[in-house]
């Protein structure tokens, strides 16, 4: 299994985009509602090499399943291309498309939804052979029996219905169906996450054996890092529709680079006790909506290492606190009327009287910030909060933005090429960032 073969990759994904549109019905058009794109997959480029298992990990809702379905052309892409064996999948038609449907298969997550409840498992596994008109009737039946035995079921169960099987057995049936046409490439979409832990290992081992036997290439989509570590050669980490890091599996697990990858690894429960004692910096905050992803680096709203502006001379913790403050000001997510004691500040007609402003600012600051700020930052924050005394939200936000805008929100770091790519300004080839701050471990 060569990781960086010099031959062309089996699958080359280039700038793949898949948006779903909301508010897009006739009525919405009539009322002039603009369609809102949900950016499920937003500019993904990846190579998958012959014979390897590429893992695709990320939290649920990050777009990884959509990506799997789009690259198999089960959904039409919004933009970008996917080359399979050198041919653009989205331009195929006729015989070429049939050939692609023959060579690329998928195994789904849910063993209960992936088999038609009204078909016997024999019919289910036979379907691909019928569609591609392979062999004679008896040859097909023999092949189905072989396949079922190959995945560990007995051929005399052919006439049974899916509900008579356990989850693990159904997943095996799904694998037999995917295997029927002897494909080259399989997308495994969370193939074990609906199964018991004991059954998971069996299914993973089966997939592993089949890979060797049939020389298969896998794209394994999973949120389960232990599964990925167990079977993958390389891993791509996805966040909000983008790939943030692609590395060989050992490197990724021993020295993750992207702050998101680190956070993901940290959130995996550990076996050894002394490691468990360690302070864990797990992922906090919600995943932002893919309808309105953050500017610049999409992880910046949750990143524990956001890069402060140059010569800011500020602790990461303080900086994060200020960023949260800024966010609230920008979203007007503050109730000014309740500042200070009941009725202390008259805010109805044109803001707080000038004389009261310092007291107002002090009260607001006390409520919003937990730590004492260094004098330099204290001054900036007070300036900004003073604007709020006149309910001048724009100006307050602007003041904070000029002072604290991070490179992370201005530029979206690019992934770069090669097998060791990380999309983070801390690691970019182009940006001359100092090594990562020691304050965070």
């Amino acid at each position: 299994m060569s990781l960086e073969s010099t031959t062309q990759p089996l699958v080359r994904i280039d700038g793949l985009q898949k948006y779903f549109w909301e508010n897009d019905s006739i009525l919405d058009r009539l009322f002039g509602n603009d369609p809102v794109p949900v950016r499920a997959v937003d500019g993904v480029s990846l190579d998958i090499h012959q014979g390897e298992t590429l893992g695709l990990v990320g939290e649920s809702g990050c777009g990884k399943s959509t990506m799997g379905e789009t690259l198999l052309r089960l959904q039409e892409p919004t933009d970008g291309r996917v080359e399979f064996d050198g041919q653009n999948v989205y331009e195929l038609s006729g015989d070429e498309l049939t050939a692609f449907r023959h060579d690329a298969q998928v195994v789904f997550q849910d063993p209960f939804s992936s088999l038609d409840p009204r078909m016997t498992i024999g019919e289910t596994v036979r379907q691909p052979l019928d569609v591609h008109d392979i062999g004679s009737e008896t040859e097909r039946d023999e092949r189905v029996a072989d396949l079922l035995e190959r995945v560990g079921l007995s051929a005399d169960q052919l006439d049974r219905y899916p509900h008579e099987f356990s989850g693990g057995q159904r997943q095996r049936i799904g694998i037999a169906r995917a295997l029927a046409l002897e494909p080259e490439f399989m997308v495994l979409d969370e193939p074990t996450s609906a199964l018991d832990v004991s059954v998971q290992a069996q299914v993973l081992n089966l997939l592993d054996d089949l890979q060797d036997e049939f020389d298969l290439t896998y794209l394994l989509i999973s949120h389960d890092l232990s599964v990925v570590r167990h079977v993958c050669d390389r891993v791509a980490v996805m966040y909000l529709g983008e790939i943030v890091e692609v590395r060989p599996v050992d490197e990724l697990f021993t020295e993750p680079k992207h702050p998101y990858t680190k956070a993901l690894l940290e959130s995996v429960p550990r076996a050894s006790t002394d490691e468990r004692k360690r302070d864990r910096e797990t992922l906090t905050g919600d995943v932002p909506s893919p309808r309105d992803p953050p500017s610049g680096c999409r992880f910046r709203t949750r990143c524990p290492m956001v890069i402060p502006p140059e010569d800011m001379d500020i602790e990461q913790e303080t900086y994060r606190e200020l960023m949260h403050l800024r966010e609230r000001v920008e979203n007007r997510d503050l109730s000014l009327a309740s500042v200070g004691d009941e009725g202390q500040f008259e805010t109805d007609n044109g803001g707080v009287p000038d004389a009261d402003v310092p007291a107002f600012v002090a009260a607001l600051k006390a409520r919003l910030l937990e730590t004492e700020l260094p004098p330099r930052h204290d001054a900036i924050v007070e300036e900004a909060l003073a604007e709020l005394a006149d309910e001048n939200w724009e100006a307050a936000a602007e003041r904070l933005r000029t002072a604290y805008e991070s490179v992370c929100e201005r530029d979206n770091p690019s992934l770069g090429d090669g097998a060791h790519s990380v999309a983070c300004h801390l690691h970019g080839v182009a940006s001359e960032r100092p090594s990562e701050p020691d304050s965070w471990t």
Partner: protein, 331 residues
Amino acid sequence: MISERVKSNLKQTFAESLLPKLGLVLLVSIVFMALFAPVLATHDPTRTGHYDEQGAPYPPLGHEYTAEIVQDGEIVEVPVEPTSEHILGTNNVGQDVYSRFLYGARISLLVGFLGTGIALLIGVPIGLIAGYYGGRVDDGLMRIADTMLAFPALVLALALLGVFGQSSIHVPDPLVIAGLADGMPESVPVPGTVIIVVALVTWVWFARVARGEALAIRNEEYVKAAKSFGTKDRTILRKHVLPNSLTPIIVLATIQVAAIILLEASLAYLGFSGTTLSWGYEIERGQGILRSRSWVSMVPGIGIVLTVISVNLLGDWLRDALDPNIEGEGR
């Protein structure tokens, strides 16, 4: 399409409960009466003039009534005795009520089942296609369906009958031609336009249910899997989407058979049936004399009620038995 498991479920639910048995017995007897109406009937249902010697219609057996008849220019009240010739009596024009009841069953069942069948054939494919493809196709089709559903079925049916007119096709009665039932009408009037009209006001129900099912099924992973190995949409619709949406469609069909029988009765009651051999028409005829000769309306009324109940009982049975989540031990 009907698997062993479904069969065993059907048997099991049938054995467990009394209601489906009752429904089956009722419906089978009604169908039997309808099929063999010419043989079972005692009189030609269209022949008028069966009165007693005073000129009054007969009451059913075991029932007496006083009729008001005109005698020597004066209205007098006379008692009327039943006769075994007309076991359910005769109506105001002297037709045999029992024979008309049998022939009425034919019309109700014909309209009910044929109308539902045609509605199924129109509604199910349209609904499945709309739900499966979604998007503009769906928007368009469902807008039409919603508009139609906004009108009461009876109003819509009357409007359509106004457009199409009423006509019935006279189909020769094989039993009479075979010589098994002498003296019965040689042909049966099949109310063609009524059947088409009830189908046209009913198909939207099937379309909506089929669409809802297709909408859910198209996102099932087995459909995605079928697409991934290149199954054509037409095959997916036929092999996955249709079989898996059948249960609610069948259940709806039983409800609609009953609803259409009622709709036909309403239309006939209002005089839009295309044939006088309809239960609804007969109810209307008895309406003015409900006090004195209630059996004229009552007999066909009971016919409608029993038919509707029997169909609904069987519908409940099917609904329970066809639910694929019920785990039966079928082999």
